[in-house]
């Protein structure tokens, strides 16, 4: 197990370095000039050149990367070209918002997705399955920004059940934080919930008709025990895989959701920095997202081995 973890950590480090290079080159391949953005539209060519030299953008690409990497190793992500704020400060300021939103959305997606999936499988061919299938079809085909707008229009503005925008940190006031985050989290989690529901349903149906479930019933186990302890437990591997794979989509979805609900999160920071060609910020943001992906995948692998003893990571006891 520890050998497995070491190998995975080493692979993760390599991935991170490669990602930093790709982003570094990719950002510079974008049309548009940060020096021009900083100096302003009206600036003379001389001013722009001076700004460029000041930002070090006149150096060869590899020199720029070398300087960036050495700063990175010292924990310095650089400073925003646009505002002069350190990138690390910008990230620590916005990341919690997105992290809370994503976590909440995943929670909603898992509860709703697994719940409806199980009900759809157990009540196969009856109305609950039809309702669940209809829900998943709708959730998958309606774009989240449209759903978000509808939610604001009817649930927030119309009925006044939820606030239309704003953010309160859970550390300040947990209840009000939940109140503010619920609508965005539900909107963000809907698509994932639909995918989870479909997979849970399919996997449950397969497990419910399996031989070992039949044997469990032959023992005299109750129907609910068979559904929850046998079929659901063995279906969860699929759900975990899916959650791991779909988290990427969740993060990009958060960009849109944050915009609609005016949340001061990572998504907003990303959009703003891309529009103003704020290289250090874009680089920092992508690096953090890459790191998040790596950590999540590692966690998924570990959860696998807990859920399914047949998946043995790195040998174990045999």
């Amino acid at each position: 197990m520890s050998r497995f973890l070491l190998t995975r950590l080493w692979q993760s480090a390599v991935t991170l370095v490669l990602a930093s290079m790709v982003v570094f080159a990719g950002v510079r391949a974008l049309p548009g000039d940060p020096a021009l953005a900083v100096a302003g539209e009206e600036a003379t060519p001389e001013t722009v050149a001076a700004v460029r030299a000041q930002l070090g953008l006149d150096q060869p690409l590899w020199v720029q990367y070398g300087r960036y990497a050495s700063n990175l190793l010292q924990g310095d992500l650089g400073t925003s070209v646009r505002t002069g704020t350190p990138v690390s400060e910008l990230i620590t300021g916005t990341l919690p918002v997105t992290a809370w939103l994503s976590l909440y959305a995943i929670l909603v997606a898992i509860v709703v997705g697994v719940g409806t999936g199980v009900v759809a499988a157990v009540r196969r061919g009856r109305w609950p399955e039809l309702v669940a299938n209809g829900f998943s079809l709708l959730a998958l085909s309606v774009p989240s920004f449209w759903l978000g707008l509808l939610a604001i229009l009817y649930l927030a503005v119309g009925l006044g059940w939820f606030p239309a925008s704003g953010y309160v940190a859970p550390s300040e006031d947990p209840l009000r934080a939940v109140y503010h985050l619920t609508l965005p989290a539900v909107i963000l989690g809907t698509g994932l919930a639909a995918v989870i529901m479909r997979q849970t349903r399919a996997s449950m149906l397969q497990n419910l008709s399996s031989d070992y479930v039949r044997t469990a019933r032959a023992k005299g186990a109750s129907r609910s025990a068979v559904v929850l302890r046998f079929a659901l437990r063995n279906s969860l591997v699929v759900v975990v895989t899916l959650v791991g794979l779909q988290l990427g989509g969740l993060i990009s979805g958060a960009v849109v959701t944050e915009r609609i609900f005016g949340l001061p999160g990572f998504g907003k920071l990303t959009l703003d920095s891309v529009f103003s060609r704020d290289y250090p910020v874009i680089e920092g943001v992508v690096l953090v997202v890459t790191l998040a992906y790596i950590v999540i995948n590692l966690a998924v692998d570990v959860v696998y081995s807990v859920l399914d003893p047949r998946i043995r990571v790195g040998g174990g006891a045999r």
Binding site: D211, K219, G220, P309, R310, R318
Partner: protein
Amino acid sequence: MTGPVTSQDQSQGEFLRIEGLDVGYTTSAGQQQVLHGVDLSVGRGQTVAVVGASGSGKSTTAAAAIGLLAGNGRITGGRICVAGEDVTHALRGGDEARLRRLRGRQIGLVPQDPMSNLNPSARIGRQVAETLVVHGLAKGAAARERAVELLQEAGIPDAGRRAKQYPHEFSGGMRQRVLIAIALAAEPELLIADEPTSALDVTVQRQILDHLQELTRARGTSLLLITHDLGLASDRCDDVVVMSEGRVVERGPARRILATPEHDYTRALVAAAPSVAARTAPRTRPAVAAVAAGRRGEPPVLEVRDLVKEFRVRGQREKLRAVDGVSFTVPAGTTTAVVGESGSGKTTTARLVLGLEEATSGSVLVRGESLSSSGRARRRAVRRDMQPVFQDPYGSLDPTMTVEKLIDEPLRIFAVGDPRSRRTRVAELLDHVALSRTLAQRRPAELSGGQRQRVAIARALALDPKLVVCDEAVSALDVLVQQQVLQLLERLQEDLGLTYLFITHDLAVVRHLAHDVLVMRRGRVVEHGSVDDVFERPQHEYTVDLLSAIPGRAA
């Protein structure tokens, strides 16, 4: 509907009584009746076998008695009484609580396939303890302790440690023992064993059945054994019930059924049962002496010399020798059978012969030519000379192709003839394997198992091979169909002078077909000789063991 049966004497000696049972399945085509008025009874402490081919309704009868019919199955008529109480209503799904008391506590079930019947994500000990817990017989540490005892009784060594392991760490035989422990945990009065050993090797099969019988006898448990093997049924049971097409066609004491079967179907079953036939005199095989005499001086069709195959096992430094110095020759027009249990290396040997796997060392010569000989054209010619027939007639035929396409495929690959001549050839091949030419446009899903295996044989014959390698070619078939396919193979050998390499775990089949036998164990050949020598005068201890494990000795 629930209540005691009026007639007192019915409940005295009888534990399970099934009267006029009708079961139907709802399909898209409407209601399909699969059981028609089945009568069956099992006395206390008695062992009864239900025998029949697949589709005869024997498993459905068992499933109905414990309320585990597949989702669309319904009891549509008749009644089932357990210990004198009519439980039909509960079995129909009308009383879940009553049904749960019945399952596990009154009737235990030992299912067929040990590989798929244990929960993959729960420890073995917990799975056994669960039966005790759901019936409120024990809980917590007491249940765990009792589970270890039960595993020990079921013949699992080092049960305390094994109870903490997961199913994937157990062999098939060990898993079946676990399932027996589960079924017996709540001390039911009747055990239904649905083909409990048909997925296991013959020697393991005997151990498990011996053990099962010992345990049920010691506890006075009744046993209802569902099996396709008449020999096994007559060995192990007091009474035999023969089923065909959802009806009971004959019943009586095991010995009587085997000795003087009354119904036509039973007679056919007795005649076909390989385990029974194996004890009787061998049938007249193709005039092998004449064939062999006529071809003396010709090189053997297949010559295998010092064949070795090693596999790397993950996490282990030492390599596994799956095939360890195997040598034999197969003369033209004869059949050599390779027998052994799983892990003996027989299938790897077949794959090496076919060139599907590369040997670590040693050589395979087909009519003096090797697959590893230089030159693409030569290798192709060698490949053309030998064709395989595999075990699974469902898996080895491409479901999207028609029968004609399937048989025609080797001809197209080797660019033999033009479309018209190939069509004629396919028709000819269908005649050879006794399939109607009208089947040519059907797809595998529209054929029975026996028909599919005939198609596989026709495909193997398309290129006029000298050697046909049959890897468990009849193992997946019902006894009656198995017998027909074996007869077909025999006839083809006579007519076409084919040479067979026949891989099987079923010694009984060997007696039917083979001239020479190779007994393999752990990658080595432990005995090699003519079929009569090996069967009548086995030299190696392991061969003796294998032969005595063939069921059907009792009669």
